[in-house]
Amino acid sequence: MAKAIIGTEHLNKTYGKKDSLFIALKDINLDIKQGESIAIIGKSGSGKSTLMHLLALLDSPTSGEITVNGESSSRLSRRQKDKLRNKQFGFVFQQFFLNANNSVLDNVILPLKIAGKSRRERNRLGMKALEDVELADKANNKANDLSGGQKQRVVIARALINDPNIIFADEPTGNLDSVTGQKIEEMLFSLNKTKNITLIIVTHDADLAARCDRQIRIKDGQIEQETK
């Protein structure tokens, strides 16, 4: 059996204090293995994005533990967390988060630029990632000039470029029509198959959720149901 790449123990997240105290996540226990695909589903406001941000080490829990590669995140320094996100995580967001005025290629290579890779290496890997998402011909276009589906493929190319272990995707198809959404979906699952990349997908899309190995349904900050 593959070992757990990421897990949580009694994870709690609250916002505010006293009267305005809001429990966003309550006692979350999870174990996600390398190469698994996980769908986090649930109503709006249930805490899906909050959970994903915690798993991606973008946020710190109020209490409880997150372990990445068997190591407790509370013992990682900020710099180590930065490095982990830079080297091992890929992100796909509903609102794309592309720098509108930069070229497609510049957007794709951003994680490598942050990592301090040389320009030649960056451009080589960037073009390769763009070929993978069939957008090599748009490399020098402004990111703003692409269609929604093309933008999301650029985002996927960016998430892929550092050869990550885990891709976090928050509503990756939320802004796309069903045909385009389908295409993005295919892309993510083929990465999961061919490169054994772990997928953690927050989604409202029942089809997409159904294709995942596991579905974790969140309700009012708690895991209501886990299905396989």
Binding site: H53, R85, N86, F97, I114
Partner: protein, 429 residues
């Protein structure tokens, strides 16, 4: 992220909102321009003054004049046959002079090695061969004083031939093709006796002298032989006590005099009724005026820079605000706080760099233009004087200072960016 990449990103961020950037740079430009030009002028003038001081032999020579007491409030002064200065009347006529007695009295002052009267003679004209005639005044050349020589040598006081050091402005009017060709030539002075009879004296040109701040315009320095011949003619027929009068005396100080000793000598001479000035004192007044102007202009430049700092802060705050998402994304992708801080700091420093760089270049350009106009105009008689001077070190330190100010102004927004939570950015719509 590599530093070069940070530099590149900061540059392209800076260019993203061009109008805002240009306005901010303009504010910095104004401050940098003012300060650079001011420093340029003040360093041009001081280096000229320093050169002059060096040339004239600096602290070792005192110029001594009778003290002019313009105080009329204390009523009429008692007549003193020893002291020939009738201050009120003589000050009015501008005819305050020293006599041989004064020279002896000055010699008694401690610390003074030698005193020589400065003898002046006013020839009617100077002429080269049968060329045009020009008005000129002459003064005795004092050994030990140095001049900014354009060509040739200083007059020799022990020479048996009359010699003269000619101001450079006389060279071409007298028909010489160059400074070098004037040296060694003979010119003729015409001078009247007290009875009005004109006589001629010939002198060899020993050298050509640059005009300086301190030299009388149109004044030539004569060696002992020449000045005594001229004064002999000029005072012929006058009673002896009228003849031996000098506008000033030049005192040679003992070497190795400290500042406090110098002050004591000056005070001693003052109590004897003389005013003693070093070359530095004579120039000091000019320098004080220049310094005052410099301070005022630098103050204005500093105010402009202060305003520019707020411009930088504002520009970068807006930039941080606009790029909330981008910063959040970069942080999510593992960019460290210190790199985000650096990114915005470098942008601030770049604003400072361009503002100060363009400002300094414009100031140098303006300075060159001012030099050109000034040396063709009111500085024509002061060759070797460039009004503005821009030592690379001063320019570099001004730029460095402004970039430091820009960096400091940028730390506020840069800190805000560095501390930004990526989640806030990712949730930000």
């Amino acid at each position: 992220m590599k530093f070069l990449d940070i530099l590149g990103s900061a540059s392209s961020n800076m260019l993203r909102s061009k109008v805002r950037t240009i306005l901010t740079i303009t504010a910095i430009f104004i401050g940098a321009f003012t300060i650079t030009l001011t420093v340029g002028i003040s360093s041009g003038v001081s280096s000229y003054i320093d050169k002059q001081l060096g040339n004239i032999g600096a602290e070792n020579v005192l110029l001594i004049r009778p003290k002019v007491d313009l105080d009329t409030g204390s009523g009429p002064k008692k007549y003193d046959p020893e002291h020939t200065v009738n201050s009120a009347a003589q000050a009015r006529s501008g005819n305050v002079t020293l006599t041989s007695k004064d020279i002896e009295k000055i010699k008694t002052q401690d610390g003074i090695k030698d005193v020589q009267p400065i003898i002046a003679a006013v020839p009617d004209y100077i002429q080269n061969g049968s060329g045009d005639k020009y008005q000129i005044s002459t003064q005795s050349f004092i050994d030990g004083s140095r001049f900014d020589l354009a060509s040739g040598k200083l007059p020799d006081n022990s020479a048996i031939q009359p010699e003269v050091l000619l101001p450079v402005s006389f060279v071409s009017p007298l028909g010489f093709s160059s400074n070098e060709s004037a040296v060694g030539q003979t010119v003729t002075f015409a001078i009247k006796t007290s009875l009005g009879k004109q006589e001629m004296v010939s002198a060899k040109i020993s050298g050509v002298q640059q005009q300086s701040l301190l030299s009388d315009a149109g004044g030539a320095s004569a060696n002992k032989k020449l000045i005594s011949e001229l004064t002999a003619i000029q005072t012929r027929g006058l009673p002896a006590d009228t003849a031996n009068k000098y506008p000033a005396a030049s005192a040679q100080l003992a070497s190795g005099i400290s500042d406090s000793q110098l002050q004591m000598i000056k005070d001693g001479l003052k109590s004897k009724g003389y005013q003693a000035l070093t070359v530095a004192d004579q120039i000091g007044i000019i320098k004080q005026v220049i310094d005052a102007i410099t301070y005022v202009l630098i103050f204005f430049g500093a105010i402009a820079l202060l305003a520019a700092s707020f411009g930088i802060i504002n520009t970068l705050y807006m930039s941080v605000q606009e790029r909330t998402k981008e910063i959040g994304l970069m942080k999510a992708m593992g960019m460290s706080r210190s790199k985000v801080f650096l990114l915005f700091s470098v942008e601030a420093i770049l604003l400072g760099f361009w503002g100060s760089g363009i400002g300094a270049l414009a100031a140098i350009g303006a300075g060159q233009l001012v030099n050109k106009i000034a040396s063709a105009g009111f500085l024509k008689d002061l060759p070797g004087f460039s009004l503005t001077e821009f030592p690379i070190l001063s320019i570099a330190s001004i730029m460095l200072l402004i970039m430091t100010i820009a960096f400091l102004a940028g730390t506020l927004p840069a800190r805000r960016a560095a501390k930004q939570d990526p989640i806030d950015a990712l949730r930000y719509e």
